[in-house]
Amino acid sequence: MTTEIAPPAIQAQQLPSGIGTAVRRIDADEKLTGRAIYAADVRLPRMLYGAVLRSPHPHARIRSIDTARARRLPGVHAVITSADTARRKWGAFRPDLYPLAVDKVRYVGDEVAAVAATDLETARLAAALIDVDYEPLPPVLSLDEALADGAPLVHDDAPGNLAHEFGFDRGGTEEWFDRSDVIIEGTWETTRQWHAAIETIGCTAEWSHGRVTMWVNTQTPFLARQRYATALGEPLRNVRVIQTDVGGGFGGKSGDDNTSVICAILAKKTGRPVQLVNSREEEFLASRPRIPMRYRVKLGFTRDGRVTAKDIDVLADNGAYTGKAQAVLGAATVRHDVLFNYRAVRARSRLVYTNLVPTGAFRGFGNPSADWAVGQAWDLAAEKLGIDLPDLFLLNAVESGSISPHNHKVNSCELKQCIEKVTTAIGWREKRANRRPNRGLAMGCSVHVSGRRSFGDYDGSAAMVRVADDGRATVIIGEGEIGTGARTTLAQIAAAELGIPVEDVTVTRPDTDLTSHALGALASRVTYVAGNAVQRAAQAACQQLLEAAAKQTGVPASELWIADGHVHGHNPEGQQLRTPVGTIARAALYQPGGEPIVGLGSFDNPSEFPDEVRYGNESGAYNFVAEAAEVEVDPDTGAITVHEVAAVVDCGTVLNPPLAEGQVEGAIAQGLGMALTERFHWADGAPEDPTFSAYKIPTAGMMPKLHVQFADSYEPTGPFGAKGVGEIALDPIPAIISSAIADAVGVRVTELPITAEKIFWSLHPATTQGNAAHPRSDKEDPS
């Protein structure tokens, strides 16, 4: 499926009222007053509480499990092990995860057994009473250990510990390197980053008549349902998933972990509703953090700064189970190539099993790892070419109409506008002209999709818009809300198309029994894909209203319109008509053979399902960003202060500026956390202290001055010209911070996280010989 490429000029469009304005979130009141129902707020009669026993070993054989003591504890209703499960492996792409460990555990945190009891304390106490006899096995705790000759295998069916690999050479890479004047090479590594959502993963499950209903704080109810059914050994029809309020997703609640599955098994075993919610420690030990990647880059340029070829070799640390990691690796390998006019690209990418916490989707989906490496390589190239970085970017940036080596077809693209505006916003020229000691400046760009065709050949959305006799509209859609304000923007789209106030629009939460099929909140897709579906459904409902009004008034539908919740026009006598839409809807129904006003709308992303070597136009619309930062380094300690970050985003039409700004600001904060603050000290294959005491996410106090702007842009295939915005502003931040530090003090950090310590040792090479009792370790993450 392909799309006409739009002309490069921005399409000036008259936006309807309510689009591009600061509409208040439709869920603001319930959240601010504490009435929102999150996963742990669900209460069902006779409900029990679950707890999970997890492996303390990174790799061990389970000799036996004795649950007798746990079962005897008063208040315990069930203790389950793999014997109580279907013993079926599940996973988004490569099924390799059992609901409860069968014979072996593969990481510290692997689920071994679980308990349901009358209260949480009893459940956790009982879990601690389960006696497991382990035979520890040699683990592989890093990429190098996993890839070593004769390394222990994490899974017997993955020789060499390779979970997935692919490669390509498009455009004759060697020839283009031969024709290059300047070559840049380097290797960069990223590390695990946790989503650290305020709300942890949780589920409440109840069985009735052979079907299970699961109230889950998942981002992707329909996709999760398919996987849960597989894991439970049940036909799809027996599983119903209802989305609760979601206290932050960031990719971490997209249904790749075992918590909900175990909850459903406990509920079946006990015949009662069971609630299972991760503790914060469990969230760190056993959720699906960002995938660490070791990313070798080679870039070629002509003398005048035109990029020629790019060659990468990527090793990704999958952890013990696969989840979405192989798709993330795919994005990390190809997505970046949409950004610049590469003549040829070559890649070899391998996903490697280790005995560490499994990894998965995280805001950016591989892009931040690609940007961490390739973005810094571009910074080095600018220096070597003697071209100021913004100028080098402008020389090579793509424009509307460009097609990547992987067939990404770029519709709207204001990347060059973003680069120019961010140069001004950060004061690049002034700061370059007035350099200050220990201060540095850098810039980066990134590209993201608006939905990606990842799960079979569908990346669509469908919606129903019902207009009732009270004049209110209900958008019935299964996409959901994870805290970004997506339901509010969908309400804005419906209201604008219908001509009714946004306060009169309700947007349902996903319920796999009630709403249309939806892929949910992933790949920055809801605004673009679901927005188009809602727009079409609202248009259909609007047309039904106008046709009903035409019948009722005798005025042709083409001469009627809806505004302010009323149908307007003039009757044949020239009198002004002004009838509430609810009145029209009621009259349309209350007549012999009457019908309700229900509009249906469907939209499938105009994209291609990429093939095994990642060739294919992933998305119908791409969003872009250029960002810049100024940092300061204390040379005595290596401590880093980020003074300013500027971001200019091309997300097409900005439907709701405060919501879009919030996405950009939050993404910058999360990018700064990835770069600077979020890390553990590791011991024996696990974080030593898996709590927020050790793992620091950025606070308001450390946030720099932000300059957030949006490019003048219009995406012809988007709803009112809009594209996705949820992830992109995170992607280049770590690379920009690293390049800015290099600009400040000449130290290039190649391995995340950037720490004061790494900078200190580089600045003070003579003082590295300490008298510490412990060997020096500046590598927090074993991967």
């Binding site: 050790a694 004061a756 200190f760 370790s777 500046d778």
Partner: protein, 294 residues
């Protein structure tokens, strides 16, 4: 009372025991092994978060004489139930012991400081805490009560079961005394310190060192006092500061997410230099004190 456990709920279950005097509070604590004194309740809330059972709570902050800063003879006396938020801006404390005022102001966040009492902060015996480091360098003592009586011990001592801190006592500062507290937050946001150091110096009329005390936190269970006594009688110059820094660098901090032991050693040395320089310059430039204490 400000406390994170719902006081109504706790009182109904008989878990809060209000008393009218220190004597009565000490008697309750002696008669009930599960009773705990409550200052701000932060330590107790953390224990409860860890699932530890909490017995009878004995609030202290309403008791007469347990709050505020006052001068008594040659001593500055700080009530053990004084809140950190009150102490950080207390004019007497800021004038006499800026290191302690800074350490008190460095604790957690403003919300935490409005809860935490200085006695509770010290009694928690947590090596990451700020005020105990400044108190150790200042040579503070604490007045401790049990049913058997009162004793005064250095603040670096551990409390015995049933003991209650009544107040903290520091010598009133004099001319040519300077103190400073340095805390390094390596990730640029609030957390327990990477390293933290307090220094106290006193100069004689010739400008030579009469006294130098240096305490380092987060390397032992209690603040570690670096022995610099051999440096007294010397001019506090760059070389002397380097000797002190080198000596503090010999400590063995622990590798964690905030840095390796090696790095922390370098940082202890660096912040030792900064604390000593700051304390020395404060000693040299000490302004005339209101009330003629100079």
């Amino acid at each position: 009372m400000t406390f994170t456990i719902d006081p109504t709920e706790a009182a109904q279950s008989g878990r809060i025991r209000w008393t009218d005097s220190v004597d009565e509070a000490v008697a309750v604590l002696a008669s009930d092994n599960d009773a705990r004194p409550v200052g701000g309740g932060v330590w107790l809330a953390l224990r409860r978060r860890e699932g530890a059972p909490i017995g009878t709570l004995v609030p202290l902050d309403h008791l007469p004489g347990l709050t505020g800063v006052r001068e008594e003879g040659d001593e500055l006396v700080i009530g053990a139930a004084s809140r950190l938020a009150d102490l950080e801006s207390d004019p007497l404390l800021r004038t006499h012991w800026p290191a302690l005022a800074d350490a008190v102001g460095a604790v957690g966040t403003a919300r935490i400081r409005r809860l935490v009492t200085i006695g509770g902060n010290l009694a928690a015996a947590d090596e990451t805490h700020d005020p105990p480091v400044a108190l150790a360098a200042a040579g503070a003592v604490m007045t401790v009560r049990t049913q058997d009586g009162t004793r005064k011990v250095p603040t670096t001592n551990r409390l015995a079961p049933g003991e209650l801190i009544i107040d903290l006592r520091l010598p009133r500062s004099r001319a040519l005394v300077g103190s400073a507290y340095e805390k390094f937050l390596v990730r640029g946001l609030w957390e327990y310190p990477c390293v933290h150091v307090a220094a106290v110096v006193e100069l004689d009329s010739a400008g030579d060192l009469m006294r130098v005390d240096l305490a380092v936190g987060s390397v032992r269970e209690a603040p570690y006092l670096v022995d610099l006594s051999d440096l007294t009688g010397h001019e506090p110059n760059r070389e002397l500061i380097e000797v002190a820094a080198e000596r503090s660098r010999q400590l063995t901090p622990r590798t964690d997410a905030k840095g390796s032991a090696d790095y922390k050693q370098q940082m202890i040395a660096h912040f030792t230099r900064r604390a000593l320089q700051s304390a020395i310059s404060r000693a040299r430039h000490i302004p005339a004190r209101p009330g003629g204490t100079a």
